[in-house]
């Protein structure tokens, strides 16, 4: 009798929950609209790496290293995809036994086990969800290469990014999005402020410190060889980011549309802010400054994009422009760290900023600057949410820094040194590592 009563109560309870949260519990039916949008978003996010990021980074290096950047982006796209199928997706989005699931997803979904044409994640095909996430697993290690560009052996790049994907990216993805401890705490990270931008930024910073500066860093000008390429790639990143953030709603709904809108607002504001700031400070607005501001605005809004409103995005974009501008100058000119393409000051600092500010602008109590509120029922104040965000930032930062450092040391032993020798650096990685040249003019 007692157990019958309990069962009835449980059933009623589940029924009520499913009534209020249909998208969570009644998600066993495929939604065509959502599926169509996430398929499009997946293409947009891959487009961010190929060719968006490849061109953005490719233009920023010297002429003799342009192919090294392009091939690294393509090779990482291929290798990350394979690793994602073999075990990456399982670590990130599988379900491990018991308490281990707080930290990693286990090996139950290796080789996409259980991913069939009829299996669903929410109300979209699991094959699509796994593929959408795969494009994130591609761009994150590809972002890191900017930190050690123009001097690192191709073999070292490939081994490092492969191991890093499995030991840093996949576990942290599980912590935040795969049911792990940060997600359980109520961390707000809509599209990858911690998962993508802090991890990539910190790894690039560690890389720059471990590998050391380029040969003429700080002595003579190291100037981008093709700014038109860089601006072209930057434009592709802006467009692709609509899939990155807008797609992270995993649905074609109001959340997704708002994420897209705030993404655009932040990018536009940060681009204009950086441009004006440079104009005031140095007397000239530059193309590189404008597009760098845009990327900073995009990186910053990423974790907050599903939670904040349009006016909040305006403020976040402004802050991103100013803070990341100074971060670039501090890292490169004051601290003399040759994070060559400024991955940490733009993505890392942007990701930290956005993750922390999400706590502020998600609040529903800021009038016109309000957002959609916090997602965890136990969190009721900005301060409380900010604490969770800070834990997310710190844990991601520290874990990434330590594991990346160990990996670089380990890979250095495997490849007999991470970087090419001085003469080879002068000749350029295109000829040294790949025996081809970007331009025959």
């Amino acid at each position: 009798m007692n157990s019958f009563f309990t069962k009835t109560l449980l059933k009623t309870f589940l029924f009520l929950i499913s009534f209020f949260l249909p998208f969570l519990t009644l998600a066993d039916e495929l939604n065509g609209a959502n599926t169509a949008w996430i398929m499009s978003s997946t293409a947009l996010v891959l487009f961010m790496t190929l060719p968006g990021l490849a061109l953005f980074y490719g233009g920023l290096v010297k002429k003799r290293n342009v192919l090294s950047i392009l091939i690294q982006c393509f090779a990482i796209a291929g290798i990350a995809s394979i690793l994602w199928v073999v075990v990456g997706y399982s670590i990130a989005f599988g379900t491990a036994e018991g308490a281990a699931n707080d930290w990693f997803g286990g090996f139950g979904k290796m080789f996409f086990s259980g991913v069939s044409e009829s299996s669903l994640t929410g109300d979209i095909p699991e094959s699509l969800f796994a593929m959408f996430q795969m494009t994130f697993a591609i761009i994150t290690p590809a972002l890191i290469i900017g930190g050690f560009a123009e001097r690192t052996k191709f073999s070292a790049v490939i081994i490092f990014t492969s191991l890093w994907l499995l030991l840093v990216y996949a576990p942290i993805t599980h912590w935040v999005w795969g049911g792990g401890w940060l997600g359980q705490m109520g961390l707000l990270d809509f599209a990858g402020g911690t998962v993508v931008h802090i991890t990539a930024g910190v790894a690039a910073l560690v890389a720059a410190i471990v590998i050391g500066p380029r040969k003429h860093f700080g002595k003579s000008a190291i100037i981008p060889h093709n700014m038109t390429m860089t601006v072209t790639g930057a434009g592709m990143l802006w467009v692709g980011w609509f899939g990155f953030n807008g797609g992270s709603a995993l649905a074609a709904n109001g959340d997704g549309a708002m994420a897209m809108l705030v993404t655009h607002i932040s990018a536009a504001t940060a681009a204009v802010t950086w441009m004006l700031y440079e104009w005031i400070k140095f007397g000239k607005p530059t193309a590189l400054g404008t597009v760098t501001g845009m990327v900073a605005g995009l990186g910053t809004i990423t974790p907050a994009s599903g939670y904040v409103g349009p006016a909040g995005a305006l403020v976040m974009g402004f802050i991103a422009g100013v803070v990341c501008f100074h971060a670039v100058i501090i890292i490169k000119q004051k601290w003399k760290i040759d994070d060559s393409l400024d991955v940490f000051p733009v993505h890392g600092v942007g990701g930290i900023l956005g993750t922390l500010l999400a706590a502020v602008f998600a609040s529903t109590e800021l009038g016109i600057f309000s957002g959609q509120g916090f997602t965890n029922d136990k969190i009721t104040s900005i301060g409380q949410q900010f604490g969770v965000q800070a834990i997310g930032v710190l844990s991601t930062f520290i874990y990434t820094a330590i594991v990346s450092y160990i990996l670089f040391k380990l890979v250095g032993l495997m490849t007999n040194g991470l970087r090419v020798d001085q003469d080879e650096e002068t000749q350029g990685l295109d000829i040294i590592d790949h025996e081809e040249r970007g331009y025959e003019l």
């Binding site: 003579s220 190291i222 100037i223 440079e278 530059t286 400054g289 760098t292 501008f325 490169k332």
Partner: protein, 112 residues
């Protein structure tokens, strides 16, 4: 026969070419070069870092002329390439021992 080598500002190339054509000089060789003189370099700004770029882009043009029109040619180049600002460039004149037209084998001033 004299060889005129002029280093000029790149955007003055068309003016100089026209001026030389007007006085009957119809052949020249142009090379894009980099260098510095009294103008020194200039600064470029990348993400808040100002770099001094030592070598500025210039155009080097070379033309061989008969000795009797040398002065006219020099005058034409000076007039066309002059902006009055630092960095307008220089003209060097040297002797040519022999000139040979490859197609016909003609030599001397006729080959110019």
């Amino acid at each position: 026969m004299k060889l005129i080598t002029a280093i000029i500002k790149p955007f003055k190339l068309d003016d100089v070419r026209d001026a030389l054509s007007e006085i009957g000089i119809h052949g020249l060789t142009v090379t894009e070069v980099k260098g510095f003189g009294r103008q020194k370099g200039h600064t470029e700004l990348y993400r808040g870092a100002e770099y001094v770029v030592d070598f500025l882009p210039k155009v080097k043009l070379e033309t061989a002329v008969a000795s009797d029109i040398l002065d006219k040619a020099i005058e034409a180049i000076i007039k066309a390439a002059n902006t009055g600002k630092i960095g307008d460039g220089k003209i060097f004149v040297s002797n040519i021992e022999q000139t040979i037209r490859i197609r016909t084998g003609e030599t001397g001033p006729e080959a110019l």
